[in-house]
């Protein structure tokens, strides 16, 4: 019962179409962002936009400096990744190598469940439970800080990182493990000298996807970071991210106004940043091969 050739060709064509359309859609999104955002640069220089440290979009005259927003996004993202990558890899090792039986199954189910929680719920938990703790522990005027944002986002990036790392670990051939143990390595030596290096590119991909998840997240950061557009000097101060700015301000802007264009211009910056992250990840992974 082999399928007739024309069916194969149709299916092949469809798959082809899907692949090409995703590229076309990304290109169209970029063009749309450019079309809406470029109007800002008729009145505002690119340098003033990127390096300005004041964001007062509805003042007279308005100020559109997004340096505090870029740095805010970076601080929160770096903090979240610094927390979630080590914990995520450790959790993946636990699930794939150490835990057995029902413990393993429960952990896996729990991690999947974590991925299914909507970000607004995590944001609310961060605001209601985490922020007061941070405030008391560090004796701060408010618990709505970059650190609160990083912790909340770390929790959100964790399921992605754990499940992809676990897949990468599972893909390492059994022979590697057995060979290492046969040579007299302890289980710990086997894991960190053989298993982790062998799964390196998968772990790297997991980290990159985690960063993507974190930098694009909006709702939770908007709720827990306090949204003060100041250049952050420590993790213990409020920050404002690019995504939160777009989400918070898009509602009331007059369509076609400078402010509207400025929000799209922030979208362009975000797009370029995620593009660069993807290209870097791709270069790194190909160099591996």
């Amino acid at each position: 019962m082999t399928p007739r050739p024309w069916q194969e060709r149709v299916i092949e064509g469809l798959i082809h179409l899907c692949g090409i359309s995703s590229i076309v859609i990304v290109a169209l999104i970029f063009l749309f962002l450019m079309k809406e955002g470029i109007a800002l640069f008729r009145t505002e220089s690119v340098a003033a936009f990127l390096a300005g440290d004041r964001w007062y979009p509805i003042s007279d005259p308005p100020r559109f400096g997004i340096l505090p927003l870029i740095l805010g996004s970076c601080v929160v993202t770096v903090g979240a990744i610094a927390l979630s990558v080590p914990f995520g890899i450790a959790a993946a090792l636990l699930v794939s190598e150490i835990a057995k039986g029902w413990v393993k199954e429960t952990l896996k189910a729990g991690i999947e469940l974590l991925a299914a929680i909507p970000s607004v719920v995590l944001g609310f938990i961060g605001m209601a439970l985490l922020a007061p703790v941070i405030k008391d522990v560090f004796h701060l005027p408010t618990g709505l800080t970059a650190l609160t944002g990083s912790l909340t986002l770390a929790l959100m990036a964790m399921p992605t990182i754990v499940s992809i790392t676990e897949d990468a670990l599972a893909a390492v051939p059994r022979g590697y493990r057995e060979a290492a143990l046969a040579l007299g390595a302890t289980r710990w030596q086997m894991m960190h000298r053989v298993l982790l290096p062998a799964a390196r590119s998968g772990i790297f991909a997991a980290t990159m996807l985690g960063i993507g998840r974190v930098i694009g997240e909006t709702m939770a950061v908007m709720m827990v970071t306090g949204n003060a557009a100041v250049i952050p000097h420590t993790l213990l101060r409020p920050v404002r991210t690019m995504t939160a700015t777009i989400a918070a301000e898009m509602g009331e802007t007059v369509r076609g106004s400078e402010h509207y264009a400025a929000l799209f211009a922030i979208g362009i910056v975000l797009f370029i940043i995620s593009f660069i992250i993807n290209v870097l990840a791709d270069l790194f992974l190909h160099r591996e091969d």
Binding site: S59, M222, G226, A228, E252
Partner: protein, 290 residues
């Protein structure tokens, strides 16, 4: 159940009252209302009551913000724009260019309450002191008669009509005529409820929101226009009489002089029944209760 009964009774009595007019011209069709998030619940309540009176009519209410509503009004995708601020000169120019002559209607009033933690000894502030606090020139509570502690500023997002109103009417302009700015240190919180929660949790915080959000965990500050007073707290009476200095109208804009359904809806909103809804949603009716 009781609520449902009350609503039915109102609907029936109104239907009887306007029976003669309704018989002459039964209202049909649909009405689109877009705009202010502050007014979304209020507009929705009006829409429900209005649809109960005129079962042939559908009224759709969407939020998105005052700016969105005005843009939709100009673009012709809604019949009524709900706004918590006046249309800007720019917006009016844009409307005129498109051949739309927007007309303004005051539908309800809203007082903006300034709130602090209940343990804060500061119970009254002048507009000038508020301006100093929110622009960041006054940074310690002891400068306005409180404890020696830094002030934590809470504000709404810049998209919020409340934020714009507070900036215009409290911060005002500096000596050279430029807008005064909120301190960069101010936390911009995404909702009035978030401000209420943060003020309840923080002994040094100060924030503002529409008076409907006032609650026992927040202390409302009396506001005065001069140091001599009087210092007034926001209430239905003080907002309507104009004694409370930070109050604003909630508005509807129509495309030109309203006709048909839009006119019937506005008539209902301004009627005693419509204004009773305003009180139920915790805003201030434009006319005293009869």
């Amino acid at each position: 159940m009781r609520y449902g009964w009350g609503r039915c009774l109102t609907a029936v009595s109104i239907a009887l009252g306007v029976g003669a007019a309704a018989a002459a011209e039964e209202l049909t069709g649909s009405l689109q209302i877009k705009g202010s998030d502050t007014m979304v619940n209020l507009a929705q309540a009006w829409a429900e009551e209005f649809m109960a009176i005129h079962p042939q009519v559908t009224v759709a209410v969407t939020g998105g913000g005052s700016g969105t509503g005005v843009a939709a009004l100009i673009g012709g995708t809604c019949d009524l724009a709900a706004t918590s601020r006046k249309m800007s000169p720019k917006e009016i120019t844009k409307a005129t260019a498109k051949g739309v002559a927007p007309k303004e209607w005051i539908a309800a009033l809203d007082g903006i309450a300034v709130v602090v933690h209940p343990s804060n000894p500061v119970k009254r502030l002048t507009i000038e002191q508020l301006a100093g606090i929110f622009t960041g020139t006054i940074r310690n509570w002891k400068d306005v008669g409180g404890d020696d502690a830094g002030i934590l500023l809470l504000s709404r997002e810049v998209n919020s009509g409340t934020h714009v109103f507070f900036k215009e009417h409290v911060l005002g302009k500096d000596a050279s005529g430029h807008d005064r700015e909120f301190s960069q240190e101010a936390l911009l919180l995404p909702s009035s409820q978030a401000i209420a929660d943060e003020v309840a949790a923080n002994a040094t915080a100060i924030g503002y929101y529409g008076m409907g959000y006032a609650n026992p965990q927040n202390a409302v500050v009396g506001v005065g226009t001069s140091a001599a007073g009087p210092f007034v707290a926001p209430s239905e009476a003080s907002v309507r009489s104009g004694a409370y200095p930070i109050a604003r109208p909630l508005l509807f804009y129509t495309r030109g002089g309203p006709e048909g359904l839009a006119k019937a809806f506005l008539d209902y909103v301004l009627s005693p029944e419509g204004q009773a809804v305003v009180r139920r949603i915790d805003f201030v009716p434009i006319a005293p209760a009869s």
